[in-house]
Subunit: 462 residues, 2 copies
């Protein structure tokens, strides 16, 4: 990744039309073998745009066109931003030396992610292409948990000894155009320990002849390599930081996490939450086979399946009533569905609130009381309608009473359960998103069916 304004961006307006035209132009120039023109067009593009253009070009031209990029640093940027499937294509179809040249310029954190995603055999092949320094960096990055600060940090940061003068620091920054965009300058002691930070702006404001020591801020917001990536993200979000330095257990500066990595972490965590709530897991992607995806979803569905069988057993026990009052079956879907739906609503509000910090465990009591009232209101409303419908359609006051009371009870219970479970899971330090998956739905189903037949036995006195 790279944060800068020096690269040449495309305008945002009419973006799609422009992209389509570029795809056509580039493919036409390639067909005509007009290499110089092709290079000129490409050199004007932002790497992010070039990556998405490659994604739309015919697959058999992609590798050739990719290697038309004359600036290796740009090629590395484009490579990092390719979609995973296209990146694999480029890696497997590339001439070895050309690929190696590009990989030398890929940022170490991106390289480590890349290598980490590869199967064992391709991993060794790729590592063999790297020069000594890159290889060492990638190997040290691979030792960290991919979800920790160490796993998401880049080692491509900029630090200087805290004993320098302001003008020496500026001189140093001038000489290093290769590192990631500098907005904070981290200052270290002789052992490489992080002792302070100055912003570029502070450097600009300081008068020459001032030692960095005098301008720097000694209380640096930092994380250790083993900090959870969510903690890092929350730190950046809360304090509006552009980057956080990462230190080891001896306070030695080993890397930094930038705000754009944090955006990726936040998106990734949310995706994981949503998939867990739906009862599947984060590892499902477009590139997986149907077999693999089915394997991922299968166990999550087991809870629902066992719950369904339990409901079957419950209904089996009440077969006598069903025999007498056949129409009770007809109302099963609406009675169960309404409870399930209100449960998903309540659970989502709770899970998302916990994830964004809008609510926390201390809000449990007011939240549960509120859901109780919401459930009673909704259950009351739909209960009255369903009771009236049952009474009018089937000319049976008893049926109206049974379905009306059931909906009232089921919707209230579902709202309560669906807000209570995520709060309890959060307190037990289990991911609350799991609580909203098939588990809650299943619990609501069984209890709902049971409630239905208990009320029916009572009203029909059977």
């Amino acid at each position: 990744m790279q944060i800068n304004v020096e690269t040449k961006p495309v305008a945002s307006a009419a973006y799609n039309t422009r992209k389509k035209r570029l795809v056509e132009t580039i493919d036409r120039l390639y067909h005509r073998n007009a290499k110089a023109s092709l290079q000129k067009v490409i050199s004007r593009l932002h790497p992010a745009d070039m990556a998405s253009i490659l994604d739309e070009l015919p697959l058999e031209h992609v590798v050739d066109i990719f290697y038309t990029i004359s600036d290796t640093a740009m090629a590395a940027e484009v490579f990092s931003q390719l979609s995973p499937s296209l990146r694999t294509e480029v890696m497997t179809e590339s001439p070895i030396e050309q690929l190696a040249a590009v990989l030398q310029h890929v940022a170490p954190d991106d390289l480590a992610d890349l290598v980490g995603d590869l199967p064992e055999d391709q991993r060794a092949q790729l590592m063999a292409l790297l020069d000594r320094e890159s290889k060492d960096e990638v190997e040290s990055l691979l030792q960290y948990d991919p979800n920790s600060a160490g796993g998401i940090m880049t080692t491509d940061f900029f630090s200087l000894p805290h004993t320098l003068m302001v003008e020496e620091a500026i001189e140093n920054i001038r000489g290093r155009e290769d590192v990631e965009m500098v907005f904070y300058l981290y200052l270290t002691d002789e052992a490489g320990r992080l002792v302070g930070v100055v912003s570029l702006r502070q450097l600009l404001l300081a008068r020459p002849g001032t030692p960095l020591d005098k301008v720097m801020n000694r209380r640096v917001m930092k994380v250790t390599t083993d900090a959870d990536q969510t903690t890092v993200a929350m730190l950046v979000e809360k304090y509006h930081l552009l980057a956080v330095p990462v230190v080891d257990e001896e306070n030695v500066l080993v890397g930094m996490v930038t705000v754009d990595d944090v955006i990726d972490v936040l998106e990734e965590e949310t995706t994981r939450d949503m998939l867990k709530m739906a009862g599947t897991s984060e590892s499902e992607t477009l590139t997986h086979s149907a077999f693999k995806i089915a394997g991922i979803r299968l166990p999550w569905l087991l809870a629902a399946f066992i719950g369904g069988l339990a409901a079957t057993a419950v209904i089996g026990r009440y077969e006598a009533i069903l025999g007498e009052v056949l129409v009770l079956s007809a109302f099963l879907p609406v009675v169960m569905g309404m409870a399930g739906n209100v449960g998903v609503q309540s659970a989502t509000v709770a899970v998302r609130g916990l994830a964004t910090g809008a609510i926390d465990i201390r809000d449990t009591v007011p939240l549960v009381l509120k859901e109780l009232r919401v459930g009673l209101l909704l259950g009351g409303f739909y209960g009255v309608i369903l009771a009236t419908y049952g009474y009018l359609m089937y000319d049976s006051l008893s049926l109206g009473q049974v379905v009306g009371l059931t909906i009232l009870g089921n919707m209230t219970g579902a709202a309560l359960l669906a807000v209570l479970l995520p709060m309890i899971f959060q307190r037990l330090k289990v991911d609350p998103a799991v609580a909203t998956g098939p588990f809650v739905t299943t619990a609501i189903d069984i209890l709902g069916v049971l409630n239905y037949f208990v009320i029916a036995s009572w009203i029909y006195k059977l």
Copy 2:
């Protein structure tokens, strides 16, 4: 908002213990009336921390303690970061002049958000407290759609004429400590039109005596005031920007959107998506009454309710079979539940993939084919188990056939429908998240019940 390292951050380690201790210390000092010590402790805190500490102090002390903050700029920061309910408390309980003094320092975009959230009468009261300049800024910001670039931008940006020299620009930055953290310097012509941008780093690298004109980048990534906030967020995310300038239809620079605002937008959009998928809307918050929340959820549940009634009607038509084979009722929950669950899985994968850009409309055919296979695999697996269970428990081959075939059909159909609908909605430019709410669930319920009885009539020849 403010992005800087100059403020004094707390360390992230042992954060909660430290916070708890601070809450106790501050409350104790307040009780002892030790104002000087209290001010000293508070002045060392980061505004974000002070805001969350106030959130845990006894409500009756909050306003007093808030006004102990001696630095008005810090008080304004803290005020902006208070939870909405606490902010209302401070606003209603504050002495007018003190509140006015704080509000002068609140960033115009935060002020506009604040005023926008207030009821009509309080709005006028608050506007009366602002000085002329702030009032004008807030009024102009309020004219933009809150979900547009104009609605989320700050007017507190930094720009200079492009005709200046590099050293004049640096001199200017030195003199303006009040504006939001400068990382990009926007350059305008005599009519205020945006003509270029330089980063602080470029300014540092340029030799004195160079006109800004020569160093600046003329192709600025920018948005117009009416651009959708999601477009702005995607631009920042894609190109790893720290800020985007906002221009009006004449290209006059009127504001900027910073990366921390973008993080808020991304979180907000995701919350909205998740709530829509659950069948409720974004306007539900902790501060709403139970009545209001019930009112928000009620219409979303209507689709499910009507669907449930339709299922009732379907089952009613097949009462004859039910009378003959009572046990069919018992399998209704499992047959419907499994289809619903696999549907939610598929729909979530599709909706989230579309939102993050991992998939797009062009992936429709491969995605649908893959879901078809996934549905067949899962349906086949659970179909065989359920058929065996039905056969063994009820000693009926026909029952086994009916439930097994139904699960196979329902799960496959649900997976297909749940991936197809979001893709169709996306193509029609309707929010695909809506497609996953009660609508899909309801469609799956009705079709599932119908399928069940069609298969049952066929196998039982009734």
